[in-house]
Symmetry: C3
Subunit: 141 residues, 3 copies
């Protein structure tokens, strides 16, 4: 992994064999990022994406292996109790171009992953919402 | 729905049972947004996306119900005759991770939807183009 | 094609019959863009997307024809040996809403394509990586 910061933007390269969530977190901690928008593309060969069933308050996971191209990877870095919290969704196309995706649990880079992190000056905290069963944006007044 | 503005960025949370287009418009009107880029993720359980057939100058709609995770939701806020105009496309993954999407007509939030609105200082008007049959960007000189 | 620049953002309209990579390059050269993030939506009727097989160091291409709505088109403009270099991935939904995508080789606009180019003040060069077989971000110290 390597990256450069240009004002409020970071361009990052995640390398073969690296996991996307781990690398993003490493940058955020090093750069002390509290709030940001994230976008990326690249190639992955092993990833797990979840789908949330609100009625059951539970995530179900789908795992995929093989040559995949990330076609969307978006989300935010916020904080929960002041600590790093990333929420990313991803989709990727397979050998036939068919696209699969969901809530990103884990994705291993096969060739390269190129991310743009747009840092926002501020903070957004999350708080567990018992009705929904998820940690939601809880804006402070 | 709730949101906070940080300079030219707004982070917004749309809640269970809310419709995405309606909530985005409510924020834009309240904040007097004329031009912006929009990106979001989240979970929806009922959405309609269109596909445009240029030869017929007509949109065909596909509707989906069930647990879906938004994997891409992007577009812009512009104006037409000075009034709010949003153009969004969306795709979402189902229980198996299979992704469906198109021009976003309507999407009901099932758990939460997290949007980032990047406000741009300027205006872009739209004008109906009879050849294409759509309201296109019509930049003023 | 037409576009307007608002500070560090460009909104662009690519028209029916135009190819997305060509039009983006035309804007970047005219505006002397060295580094940028790109996002777009729109409708295409003929596109080719690739999937990279790292073991073979080779891209395989999938081509699609018919009415498609772009649901994600993201990537960056960087430079290689100082010259324009775009890396975009795209996915698009067909008549049934099924989504296909990958590394974007070529996409013909059928109705309109609306792009937002976020210019970043800086440069990121690419260098060929023999292990991976691709031109990767090579940040300068």
């Amino acid at each position: 992994m390597d990256y450069r910061r240009f004002g409020d933007r970071i361009l990052a390269r995640f390398d073969k064999g690296e996991e996307i969530h781990e690398q993003l977190k490493a940058i955020a901690l090093r750069e002390n990022i509290k709030l940001a928008e994230v976008s990326a593309l690249g190639a992955v060969d092993d990833f797990t994406v979840g789908v949330y069933k609100v009625a059951e308050k539970k995530y179900y996971a789908n795992s995929f292996q093989g040559p995949f191209e990330i076609v969307s990877l978006t989300g935010t870095i916020t904080t929960m109790n002041g600590a790093y919290y990333a929420h990313l969704h991803m989709s990727a196309g397979d050998e036939k171009g068919e696209v699969y995706g969901g809530h990103l649990n884990r994705a291993m880079v096969s060739a390269t992953c190129e991310a743009v992190i747009s840092i926002i000056d501020g903070t957004v905290e999350r708080r567990f919402d018992p009705e929904v069963g998820l940690n939601l944006f809880a804006f402070q007044s």
